[in-house]
């Protein structure tokens, strides 16, 4: 059989007027969410109303499009902001106003601004994405990214505030993030095998995903090396998040890959 190159047709459905009204609601909601999240600069627990509204917004989008909003930069930046919000509230519930909220809240706001500035992809999922394995893969990926983000924040608290238990909290965040990220990769491999007959493809995105996995494996093992605990390992936890963000957004924007949807 001769080899030919294929294209995956992505179809957007939905009437023009309903799409317009959904987009208007989306822009309005994103504006409100940014305001509500910024209130948490005063105290992290005040993020709860923003999280509840954001969860409701995700549900609204899901009901309108028949899918969780997980495709394209617009959806995923919003979902990442929500995930970081959830993890930061859990991790910092008892915290008063401090560097933890001064870093996490602007980060969430920045992600929401990025989401608002990115074009949305209204409509149902393309057929190749209509599988539970895809949704699990993406949800777990972003939860793990959120944990890597909070781990990096704890790393900053360790280095600059010498906060007690911050290094331990970094380790706990990154360990949980690593477990979820590994699971996300496995689910992604299952999905890829069902969709494309291969659980692994040699593309820049897969290489960068593997870099993230190798890097956090390195962090977890480095903590066990005698004499390596302390700033060296803490910095790894911070640099890891930069690698994660490049893998998530940089690769998609700068390099061509089959991971683009």
């Amino acid at each position: 059989m001769p080899f030919v190159s294929e294209q995956y047709p992505i179809d957007l459905i939905g009437g023009k007027s309903s799409r317009t009204s959904i987009l208007l609601v989306t822009v309005f909601m994103e504006f409100i969410l940014i305001i509500l999240y910024l209130i948490a600069l005063y105290r992290l627990r005040l993020m709860l109303p923003a999280l509840v509204l954001h969860a409701g917004f995700i549900l609204y989008t899901a009901l309108n499009f028949g899918r969780i909003p997980l495709i394209g930069l617009h959806d995923t930046l919003g979902f990442l902001a929500f995930s970081i919000g959830v993890v930061s509230v859990v991790a910092g519930w008892d915290r008063k106003r401090d560097l933890f909220s001064y870093i996490t809240v602007p980060l969430i706001a920045l992600l929401l601004v990025g989401s608002a500035a990115s074009p949305s992809m209204p409509g149902a999922l393309p057929p190749v994405l209509k599988t539970l394995w895809f949704e699990l893969h993406v949800v777990l990926s972003f939860l793990s990214y959120a944990l890597f983000a909070i781990g990096a924040v704890f790393g900053i608290l360790t280095l600059f505030l010498h906060e007690e238990r911050a290094e331990l909290n970094q380790y706990r965040s990154l360990l949980l993030g690593y477990a979820l990220f590994s699971t996300a990769m496995i689910f992604g491999g299952i999905w890829a095998y069902l969709a494309w007959g291969a659980y692994w493809l040699w593309t820049p995105k897969e290489l960068w995903t593997t870099i993230v996995w190798f890097f956090y494996s390195l962090y977890l093992h480095a903590r066990l090396v005698r004499g390596w605990t302390g700033p060296k390992v803490v910095w790894m936890g911070i640099i890891g998040f930069a690698i994660v963000m490049f893998t998530y957004a940089g690769v998609g924007l700068l390099m061509k890959s089959s991971h683009e949807f």
Partner: protein, 238 residues
Amino acid sequence: MKTFFLSLKTTVWTLFALVCLFFIGSYMMPAHREVFAGMNDDILFRWVKHTASGELWSTWWFFAAMAGLVLLTINTIACSLQAIKGRWSRNDFLLRIAPQVIHIGFLFILLAHLLGAGWGYKLSGIMPEGAYAPLPEDKVLQLHQVRVLTDSHGSMTDWSAEVSLYENNQLVKSGMLGPNVPLFYKGTGIYLKSLNFDRGPAAVLLVAKDPGAVWALAGGVLFMLGSITLLALKWKKT
């Protein structure tokens, strides 16, 4: 030499080297598309033999990464064997076994990649409705019909293809293919990638056999189980 393979520093520096090599590879791949374009089209060893070995200027990072993975494999096996030596107590059983289950999962995944790289096959192409295509291992694939679902605006929302698989001229399997719905028979998968209507209704099909797939799945399951167990134990401890 034994100390080198048992050392945690070997693990750390090998992982660091792999991070660097994959980083280099992520830039070399788009920069030398003509070399790497066919990397996923067939089993990896064929690409290595026919392309990579003759383009070392752009593929050296790949061979260095493979060497790094070999070193990591030996290091993992050596460390795991060392870790399970000695007396075991009921108190620390799970804490000692969980990392080894993770390591075994990792090794299974590497084995899966090795098997998939050297054995099996990948074939891809367009088949018109009613056509037959010969496959390896005395199999023949027939495409009966393609079906398209459209919305009220006439845009394609889903598609499927009805196929039959014959082995030694006997029908052994038939079914409907769709996105994420392949047909499997004795380790061979038939996948519907898309449809093509340039010269009449036709399906773009992929037929792939990967002997490593089941090892990858087993490795993934073990890795997840080990990670969750270790996570629970470390969480309690900290």
